[in-house]
């Protein structure tokens, strides 16, 4: 059986006045039905562009693309906007970072949900309304019938994000793409929203891609994690393996930079120095080399490919991986 989503060597380059910005530079991923993939990286790592490239949400002008996005075997990159519209919402849905800007401020939230129900499922007005109220209830919105007639500004940030999730779930998509769904929210609300996403994902046996900059967000909630850096996937592994047997120094640094509540206060954090490379003129060799505490001459000369680790399903792109005895000897 073909996987639900197979991204093969995806390339998204933006034409800028300075040259080509290689935002996504040869990314391959697979998401099986009902599984959850976390995509983790800093701002500018290309994770958001990757998510939008998968959706086909990028403008055609000024964008060079390559590779394949196979959704149930069909290449989305080759589809017209019109065919894509039949897939958006019905097959693949997306939840964005900022619920205030992804909701239309002048349209009642009920109508924002029924719109896609009526378009994709051809439901009548009353049926769509009933379905929308059910959806609002299922995403934990109290008094859904009253909320149905309210405008986005009448809801709190957390409630708004629940509404965008309800909209995304409306037509029962097979894949949900959540791009930093909790970054704009408070910690308590964040955990509620992540719980909600997880519960819905399991209940509907829907596949989910969770894009975030915070490893803490994806730790307990994904089956597999892909770590992105400067437009490339630099490590990919089942979640548990990634946390216990990470090989890529970048992953290690990302994890180390998170302040831990269990550490005594004033514990010095292991920050990653510097900033991500310029994607118009990426460095030769490993793109992380300039910030890597373990970099060696070979790292700046030769780019490490994504190579398999001994642990199953684990790939990494590093010449001197974490935990390799040879490295510590040298």
């Amino acid at each position: 059986m073909t996987p639900l989503l197979e991204v093969v060597d995806l390339v998204t380059h933006f034409v800028t006045e300075r040259g080509l910005a290689r935002a996504v530079d040869g990314v391959s991923l697979t998401v099986e039905r009902g599984r959850t993939l976390g995509i983790v990286g800093e701002s500018g790592s290309g994770k958001t562009v990757l998510a939008r490239s998968i959706m086909g949400l990028l403008p055609r002008a000024g964008v060079r693309r390559g590779g394949k996005v196979l959704f149930e075997g069909q290449d989305l990159l080759g589809l017209s906007d019109r065919d894509l519209r039949d897939i958006w919402g019905a097959e693949i849905a997306m939840v964005f970072q900022d619920p205030m800007t992804s909701l239309n401020p002048v349209v009642r939230i009920g109508r924002q949900i029924t719109e896609s129900l009526r378009h994709h499922l051809q439901l009548g007005k009353a049926a769509a309304r009933a379905r929308a109220i059910d959806l609002l209830a299922s995403v934990g919105i109290p008094e859904p019938a009253r909320r149905f007639d309210q405008y986005p500004h009448e809801l709190s940030g957390g409630m708004r994000q629940r509404v965008t999730i309800a909209i995304a779930l409306a037509c029962g998509p097979k894949l949900l793409l959540a791009d930093e769904p909790t970054t704009a929210l408070d910690v308590t609300v964040q955990s509620q929203i992540l719980d909600l996403l997880q519960a819905q994902q399991r209940e509907r046996s829907m596949a989910m891609i969770l894009v975030t900059h915070d490893l803490g967000v994806v730790a307990g909630r994904t089956d597999e994690i892909a770590v992105m850096y400067a437009g490339k996937v630099v490590e990919r592994a089942p979640t548990h393996t990634l946390f216990t047997e990470m090989r890529m120094p970048y992953t290690e640094s990302l994890l180390a930079s998170i302040p831990r509540i269990e550490q005594p206060s004033h514990t010095r954090l292991r920050a990653i120095t510097g900033r991500p490379p310029d994607l118009v003129h990426p460095p030769t060799g490993c793109r992380f080399a300039a910030r890597c505490p373990y970099a060696q001459p070979r790292c700046v000369e030769e780019e490490p490919p994504l190579m398999p680790a001994p642990t199953p399903g684990h790939h990494y792109a590093c010449w001197y991986p974490v935990g390799d005895p040879a490295v510590r000897a040298g």
Partner: protein, 363 residues
């Protein structure tokens, strides 16, 4: 939660900043209806010289308003703010202006807090110009060069450029430089890292610790993320809906949270550890926080947290809890604080110290 009271304050002469019975209210709707937002209601705390006090709570709890009220921007509705021996709330505009350089502030949005049209060198030199520093242009340039260097930016390449040419983390460094250039005693950081990526957040947190040491700062650190607050703070005050819930030394607060709300906040922190299943961790406490934040226009009677508190009883609605000591310098405003066993139950295995992530073998 919701507590008032001043028992937790330390000897008056010791504190650099002492806030007592601070009240900030904003009118809402038509003035004649007289409805007000109770943003901050009777909050008291103090900060000793060289100390970092963390003020933690969710959006809408009044923590940022508190920070600004200390700066007298705008002036609080009632209460006292004593800073460095002076009562700020009574000072006239000009006298207050002269106090300002001694207390500086850093804001959440690194882009919005820098004037997009001015070169970075000008932005950082502005406080010096306002106060007509000695040494003229050359002296100013030297001071700006020094402070930019301290925050990790190179004067020659940075000074002539505009803020939009910098990343968010670099903009926050520029904000810090501007705040430090006048050598303040108190630095109020209002969500300084919540707009940043974790990797950049760590850089800025480390930088703040370094600057605190180098400039001999006292810090009020306001944020919603308890893990971040704990990393930099000596003492933490937890706020909910305009009131203080709990005040304790950082490690004590984490080890033995006494207020149910603090327990919820602790349980909400995403653990970067796949063995901690978030669905289970602190499940009891989190389930309790299902409701929405009540309106600050019409806050609940008694304890303001009672509407979402799993331990709430009748007394909580009738009587407002006052901060009282439950441990060594550990203060809580709750009629039914979490005891030691209850604390463990509410927290699950979630904050069992030792569950630190994987490390390099040579680490």
């Amino acid at each position: 939660m919701a507590g008032s009271g001043t028992a937790h304050l330390r000897a008056e002469g010791d504190a650099l900043l002492r806030v007592e019975h601070l009240v900030v209210e904003f009118p809402v709707g038509p003035a004649r209806r007289g409805r007000v937002v109770h943003a901050v209601s009777d909050v008291s705390f103090d900060v000793l010289p060289g100390e970092t006090l963390g003020l933690v709570g969710e959006s809408g709890c009044g923590k940022s308003t508190t920070g600004r009220a200390i700066m007298q921007l705008p002036r609080p509705t009632a209460g006292s703010v004593r800073f460095d021996g002076e009562e700020l709330t009574h000072l006239s505009g000009e006298v207050l202006r002269r106090v300002r350089p001694r207390m500086q502030m850093i804001f959440q949005d690194p882009i919005s807090s820098l004037n997009p049209r001015r070169p970075v060198g000008d932005i950082v030199a502005e406080p010096l110009r306002v106060w007509g520093s000695d040494g003229g242009d050359a002296g100013r340039e030297a001071a700006v060069r020094q402070v930019l260097d301290d925050v990790g930016l190179d004067y020659d390449s940075a000074a002539g450029r505009r803020p939009h040419e910098f990343s968010g983390g670099q903009c926050q460094r520029i904000s810090i430089a501007r705040a430090l250039v006048l050598n303040p005693k108190l630095l109020i950081c209002d969500e300084p890292v919540s707009a940043l990526d974790v990797s950049v957040q760590a850089q800025i947190l480390n930088l703040l610790e370094d600057m605190k040491a180098r400039y001999g700062l006292t810090v009020l650190f306001i944020a919603h993320d308890l893990a971040v607050v704990k990393n930099v703070s000596d003492r933490i005050a937890v706020m909910y809906l305009g009131k203080l819930c709990e005040v304790a030394p950082s490690d004590e607060l984490y080890r033995a949270p006494a207020h149910p709300y603090t327990a919820v906040l602790l349980a909400s922190i995403p653990a970067p550890d796949p063995d901690v299943r978030p669905g289970m961790a602190g499940g009891a406490a989190r389930a309790a926080l299902s409701g929405e934040l009540p309106s600050p226009v019409d806050p609940p009677s008694g304890c303001r947290f009672r509407t979402r508190c799993p331990r709430a009883e009748e007394r909580c609605a009738a009587e407002e809890p006052v901060l009282r000591e439950v441990g060594d310098d550990h203060w809580v405003a709750c009629h039914f604080p979490l005891g030691h066993t209850a604390r463990l139950a509410a927290s699950g295995m979630r904050w069992d110290p030792g569950g630190v992530g994987p490390r390099r073998a040579d680490d």
